[in-house]
Symmetry: C2
């Protein structure tokens, strides 16, 4: 079995952080998770390679998602003003996507602000298997969704559809804007 960088140090730090946050002693957490104190002591000092069941039980006892123990997050305050985010996709003048928040460790989504003008539809090939896309129209009107059944949307309308099949987007009015949350669980 090769060592491919499993985050055992990260897990140790996560366990200590979450336990402190929950205000539990090592002994109490171990008791709640139904594991031995010595096991938890070992894991918190990164001197073990826990089984999935052990780590799962600890997540349950700590009240945090399992993956939270593996990929810790970072939170901060950030503002991106209208029109100032990094335009990461501008294939044609009638379709611009601004990336607001890319997928950080522990999350599985990207958030984009779209701006579309009437013209040729933007056709997308299937994304990674399991991708789901959430679209919320802010201004204007557009057609969007699976290529086989595009749906007309107006301001405030919300659409969710599988992003792992061919899909499309086309503005029906000038200055159409929408928010896209691409989620790849």
């Amino acid at each position: 079995m090769s060592n491919t960088g499993a985050p055992l140090q990260v897990i140790a730090a996560s366990l200590r952080r979450e336990r402190e946050r929950a205000g539990l002693s090592l002994s109490e957490l171990a008791k709640r998770a139904g594991i031995a104190k010595s096991t938890l002591s070992q894991l918190e000092s990164a001197s073990g390679n826990p089984s999935v069941e052990t780590l799962w039980a600890l997540g349950v006892a700590l009240g945090v998602p399992f993956s939270r123990l593996v990929d810790p997050p970072a939170a901060r305050v950030r503002v991106i003003r209208a029109g100032e985010g990094p335009a990461i996709y501008s294939e044609r003048a009638n379709y611009t996507a601004t990336l607001l928040a890319s997928c950080p460790p522990g999350a599985r989504r990207d958030i984009y602000m779209l701006r579309l003008e009437p013209g040729a539809a933007r056709e997308s090939e299937p994304h990674m298997s399991g991708t789901v896309e959430h679209l919320i129209v802010s201004t204007g009107r557009m057609l969007a969704g699976p290529r086989t059944e595009p749906i007309e949307l107006g301001p405030g309308d919300y659409l969710v559809y599988p992003g792992d099949i061919p899909h499309t987007a086309q503005a029906l009015e000038r200055g159409t804007t929408a928010l896209l949350v691409s989620e790849h669980v």
Copy 2:
């Protein structure tokens, strides 16, 4: 060690699904992950409780996030027209939240459409530890963010801030609307 429902059956199904998707044989995947064929055979038949390192190595070899092997997805097409979603929170006439997409298995976010009118600020106590909130203003102007440093936002502005500290939201104009993605990694 008590049995607290670790998803061993889910892991087995996920491994089979992802391996098939990647077009790999059991022998080839095991080789790429650096583990024994017999170990992978055991895991795919849900007759084992893998260590974190083993599962991590498999995630790397399959090219999917580690936690993807633990929580699987689901996708479908759905439309919610403006004003028709289930209003799940309407504390006062100046703040209405419409839930567009609640947290399904395998995802860790809720998506809301907010509608605010000027008046008393809506003050929120800290949510679950690790919660991050993404706010995108569609119409109007508002103040939002951590209670200690609210930020003024206009149409198209985007704000991300930790939702596990006291935070606030207050409309500065009539008919202010915004999208809120509450993410609890």
